[in-house]
Structure formats: structure tokens, C-alpha cells
């Protein structure tokens, strides 16, 4: 059984008479612990594909299996549970809630997961230490730089012990040094924890950090 199996998945939009195939009959597999990059130009469908895997955008046709279970056969409740328990999401924009401190932003996913145990404070300490921001625990996002906010978002993605982390252009608006630090951090987490990583980027240099590449072009998977 493959960890993630995308089978002939398509996402088609109709805008008036125009039919847009954002993802067009894409099939591929990802094994547990792999670090996969999805590359492609803007509008090639890579973020759409990531959203489909993340359970926030349903397919028009085809299937997405996670540990052998078709996630789009799940009801709304189970799909939310899948997102809360199995997936960690890192967005391409600042995604921290501005009214919450760093600590509270890290706690946020834990209130959506049923049966979160009492060691969350230890986890916060561990992941903030891992991203080097333990001294910013009570800071608000507005008091952090863009790179620091991205690192907090990475720590937040780890809070519910996900099996997969989906990172959508996680270094998109960062300078080169911060970009490299962030990528090193993601690689380290992948290596140390065995969490599967799927990274969407249009930057070939970043994509080279991955063990496997998928290239999207006009909604189709071109090469592996």
C-alpha cells in the first residue's frame, strides 16, 4: 500500500463556455518519508494539486488515496479530521492568526484534533527550539519578521504529529539566506522525523533539495 496515491485526478472549472483543466488526469505515488518537489510555472496547477492532496479541494474525477483510503469518499467530518490529524500545511503567505501569540498559534491546530493529550506545552517548547524561536513564544506575529513567521508556521504544521507536510512555496517572499535556512530546516525535519514532505515551488534550486521531482505544465504531469 502506497502512502499517497493520486489516480487519474482531474480538477476542471467551467467559466461560462470556457473549460479550464487546472489538473488534468494526474497520477503518481508517494511513499512514506519521501521528500517530493512539485515544480512548474505559475498557473501550471501545482498549488491546486497540493490542495487536492491536502483535502481542501475536491477532485472533479479520479481518486486520491491516503494509506489506501480514498479521502474524497470521506464525509465532511472525517475529511476535517484527516486535515487535522494527518496533514500539516505550510502556506505561501503569512498564515498566523494576528490576534494570537506564537504559543497560541501553535496551540491552534491542537484544538481541532480530537484527543490531543496534555504534552502540548512540551511540544511547543520542542518545535520552537527546533525552529530557533523559543525566545519569541509570547510575541505576536506583527512583532516577527517574515522569515520568523514562516518558521512559526512550520512549527505549527508539526503540532498535531502529521504524517505529511504540504508546503506551498514556503520561501516565496523570503530573502536568499532565510530561504536557505528554511529549506535546511524542512530537510532536517524530514530526515529526523520521517514525515513525508511535498513541496511546491517554481524555484528549481529549491526543488533540487527533494529526492523526487514532479513537474506540472498546464495541469498535466509532464515528467518524474
Amino acid at each position: 500500500m502506497r502512502h499517497i496515491e493520486v489516480n487519474d485526478a482531474s480538477k476542471i472549472y467551467k467559466v461560462g463556455d470556457l473549460i479550464i483543466k487546472a489538473v488534468d488526469s494526474v497520477s503518481f505515488n508517494i511513499d512514506k518519508g519521501e521528500f517530493v518537489s512539485i515544480i512548474g510555472h505559475s498557473g501550471s496547477g501545482k498549488s491546486t494539486l497540493l490542495s487536492i492532496i491536502g483535502g481542501i479541494l475536491s477532485v472533479t474525477s479520479g481518486n486520491v488515496y491516503f494509506n489506501g483510503r480514498d479521502i474524497y469518499n470521506l464525509d465532511e467530518h472525517a475529511l476535517s479530521q484527516y486535515r487535522a490529524e494527518k496533514i500539516g500545511y505550510i502556506f505561501q503567505f503569512a498564515s498566523l492568526l494576528p490576534v494570537l501569540t506564537v504559543r497560541e498559534n501553535l496551540l491552534l491546530p491542537t484544538i481541532f484534533k480530537a484527543g490531543t493529550n496534555g504534552n502540548v506545552e512540551q511540544k511547543i517548547e520542542k518545535y520552537l527550539w527546533m525552529v530557533g524561536l523559543q525566545y519569541k513564544i509570547n510575541a505576536y506575529p506583527s512583532q516577527l519578521s517574515g522569515g520568523q513567521q514562516r518558521r512559526v508556521a512550520i512549527a505549527r504544521a508539526l503540532m498535531n504529529d502529521p504524517e505529511v507536510i504540504l508546503a506551498d512555496e514556503p520561501t516565496g517572499d523570503l530573502d536568499e539566506i532565510t530561504e536557505k535556512e528554511t529549506m535546511d530546516l524542512l530537510k532536517r525535519i524530514n530526515r529526523d522525523s520521517g514525515i513525508t514532505f511535498i513541496l511546491v515551488t517554481h524555484n528549481l534550486d529549491l526543488a533540487r533539495n527533494a529526492g523526487k521531482w514532479l513537474k506540472m505544465d498546464n495541469g498535466r504531469l509532464k515528467e518524474i
Binding site: E76, R83, A84, I87, G88, F91, L97, V99, L100, P109
Partner: protein, 395 residues
């Protein structure tokens, strides 16, 4: 505080203090109108009922044409004098269905002329036959009044400035102030009571404007099995010089006047409710538009629709609850302080029990919070159903 959806709701409320204040103020105004209006109407209705119930009589007999005076003296504390001959008492006693009768005579004080207190009603009653005042007298005083003694109604005691005064001049006769009655909730709270043993002394001084043998009102208890309405008609049929008022119809004039006032209140409350609900809808529509990206992120990291719904409902409930509590305070304050400026009410003994006040407060709280939730519900449901992908893409 443990981190929860409540923490997020509270932070979001603080995020836009001005907007929150506008909504809280709107709800507070709505609830204050509701509490003020309800307290106002409820207290009048309950004062009327309480007063007529506590009179202990089934039928009142007054001189012809003085029917409204009974209400005015007994319920509204108005100073009125009206007299009929005492022989009426015996004639009423003879009417079929009458069980017991007693009478009262009303005198009016005039400061400086006959008395040393401002104008007020002095109730002369017969302690031997009385079944109206004696019950209160026993509760407050524990014994009968002696000749030369008066007892003061609860509000008259303060209103007339009789605190700590042991004696008072009434109609040229000096009386001992023997005590103060407990609050009765009737017009008698503003009166002074004396036994009819004193009436000869009072009349002999010629300062009371009353003749020997004058009485103002006859109280009637009907025999078991007799209908007060029928007995009332019997009395009017038998004695042409009198009119009768059944206890159940006392205060009807005031209550019917208040029906119009209550309609005005009701329309005001409905309009204010619609306005508040519309304001809540507007404010929360703006809030959800601003926060759609945050909600999308929360959904993407595992929030269910119910989490989103709960977060916003908590927010709107807190705003509604704070506004409602504020409104209850304002409404209660207004009903206590302003009721006396209304001419129709200033003579009525108004007071709500803590239970009645609690009920009205609870009604205001539920209405204020409920209207806030109803107004905000549509935008909140929109957020519950938000497509996270589309919202993130838009961002």
C-alpha cells in the same frame, strides 16, 4: 485561561474596539427600552392587582357618581373627599348575598389651617367591623389603635416628613403617632389612619369639613356561593344613592390607558429589535469578509464547520451578553428613577419584587443576546460553509 475557541473569540472582540462598542451600545439601548418598558407596564399591572387583592373586600360601595373616586383613593393615592350617609351601611347589610360590611371616611389635611402636615388623606375606620386595615395593623403594630393615636402609611411616613415626630396636629386635635404600617402596595401607603372613636372630637373642632354620620365608602364581603357581580347589582338595585365597584374591575381605567402605552412600547421594541438585528448582520458581514482568509487557514489545518460556527457564536454571544447586561442596568435605573415623572404613575405605589425584577432582566438578557445572534447568524453560516481553497486563492 486555557486556550480554546473562547480565547480567539475574546481576542477578536478586542481587535476592533469601536465596532464592538457600537454593537454593544445598540444592544444595550434595545434591552434598556425593553426592560424599562416591561418594568413600567408590569409594575403598574401588578400594583393594580396587588392593591385590589389586598383590599380584602369583594365589592366597594360609593356615593352615586363617585365610582372612579374609589380607584383614585385606593389605588392612585389621590386626595378625594366624597361622603354619603352612614345609614347606607345598614341598608347594604340587608342586601341579599352580603356577608360583612365595614366603612371608611376620608378626610383631607390642610397645612396650617387644620393640621401641621401637608395635604394627605386621613382614613377613619371602624376597628370593630374592619377587615381591610386591621390585617395590616396587626402585622405592623400588633395591637389595636387607642383613642388619640394614629398610624402612618409606609410612604407617608417619609413623604410627610414625620420621621422621629412623636405627635401631630390633625384637624385641631393632637394625636400620638403610634407607628408605621408595613408597605401594602396600595394607595393606603400614603395615608394616615385613625380609629372612628376620634371622629366626634375631630368634628367638634369644625376643621375637617365632615358632618356627623358621613362616611365615604362601604367595603362588602359577599357570602360564600354568591357572585360579587350579582351582589353588586343587587346593592345598586336596592339603594339608588350608591354606585358599586367590584374588586375585579378596580384599576381597569388605568390598565386600559396602559394598553395604549404598551402598544407604543411594543412597536418601539419591535423596531429597535429589527434595527439591532440589522446592525449585527452588517457588523458581522464586515467581520467575516475581513476574516475569511483566517477562517480558510483554520479549516485547512483541521477546523470543522462547527468549530468556525462556535467561534463566531461565542463572539456574538459575548457582545450580546455585555450589551444586554448594560441594557438591564440602564433600563432598571430608568424604571426606578423616571417612573415618577409620569403623571399617571406618580400617585401609584410601584415596586417590583426581586423575583419580578429578575424575570424582566432575564427576558431582556435573552432578547438582547438572541437578537444579536439572529442578526449575525447569516454571515456566520456563510463562514461555516466557506470554501477554504477559494478563500486562500483569493488571498
Amino acid at each position: 485561561m486555557k486556550f480554546s475557541l473562547l480565547t480567539i473569540a475574546l481576542r477578536n472582540i478586542k481587535r476592533k474596539p469601536f465596532r464592538t462598542a457600537v454593537l454593544v451600545t445598540a444592544i444595550a439601548l434595545l434591552v434598556s427600552i425593553l426592560v424599562f418598558g416591561t418594568s413600567f407596564l408590569y409594575s403598574v399591572k401588578s400594583a393594580m392587582e396587588r392593591a385590589s387583592n389586598r383590599l380584602g373586600a369583594d365589592v366597594l360601595v360609593v356615593p352615586t357618581g363617585a365610582r372612579s373616586f374609589a380607584d383614585e383613593v385606593l389605588l392612585e393615592t389621590k386626595i378625594k373627599v366624597f361622603y354619603m350617609d352612614r345609614s347606607i351601611l345598614d341598608r347594604v347589610r340587608e342586601v341579599e348575598g352580603v356577608s360583612r360590611v365595614t366603612y371608611q371616611t376620608y378626610l383631607t389635611t390642610i397645612l396650617g389651617l387644620c393640621c401641621d402636615i401637608p395635604p394627605t388623606t386621613v382614613v377613619v375606620f371602624n376597628q370593630e367591623t374592619d377587615f381591610v386595615v386591621n390585617a395590616w395593623l396587626n402585622e405592623s403594630f400588633g395591637r389595636k389603635l387607642e383613642k388619640g393615636e394614629v398610624i402612618i402609611g409606609n410612604e407617608a411616613f417619609e413623604n410627610l416628613g414625620l420621621l422621629d415626630v412623636g405627635r401631630s396636629l390633625l384637624f385641631g386635635v393632637e394625636f400620638n403617632i403610634a407607628g408605621v404600617l408595613q408597605k401594602t402596595g396600595t394607595g393606603f401607603d400614603n395615608a394616615i389612619f385613625m380609629n372612628d372613636e376620634n371622629i366626634d372630637d375631630v368634628i367638634s373642632r369644625g376643621k375637617a369639613g365632615v358632618k356627623r354620620g358621613d362616611i365615604s365608602l362601604v367595603f362588602v364581603k359577599v357570602k360564600p356561593g354568591y357572585d360579587p357581580y350579582t351582589v353588586s347589582r343587587n346593592i345598586e338595585g336596592a339603594i339608588l344613592e350608591v354606585d358599586t365597584v367590584e374588586r375585579s374591575s378596580m384599576g381597569k381605567r388605568i390598565i386600559s390607558t396602559f394598553k395604549d402605552v404598551s402598544s407604543v412600547f411594543l412597536i418601539t421594541i419591535i423596531l429597535a429589535s429589527v434595527l439591532s438585528a440589522f446592525l449585527a448582520w452588517t457588523v458581522f458581514s464586515a467581520i467575516v469578509n475581513e476574516r475569511s482568509r483566517e477562517v480558510a487557514i483554520m479549516k485547512a489545518i483541521g477546523a470543522k464547520g462547527s468549530h468556525i460556527m462556535m467561534m463566531f457564536i461565542l463572539e456574538v454571544m459575548i457582545i450580546g451578553a455585555v450589551g444586554s447586561l448594560l441594557g438591564i442596568e440602564i433600563g432598571t435605573f430608568l424604571s426606578l428613577k423616571l417612573s415618577k415623572i409620569f403623571g399617571l404613575l406618580k400617585d401609584i405605589s410601584i415596586s417590583l419584587s426581586p423575583v419580578e425584577q429578575f424575570r424582566i432582566g432575564l427576558l431582556g438578557f435573552l432578547a438582547g443576546t438572541g437578537i444579536c445572534i439572529i442578526g449575525a447568524l447569516s454571515p456566520i453560516i456563510r463562514m461555516k460553509r466557506l470554501d477554504p481553497y477559494a478563500a486562500i486563492k483569493e488571498a
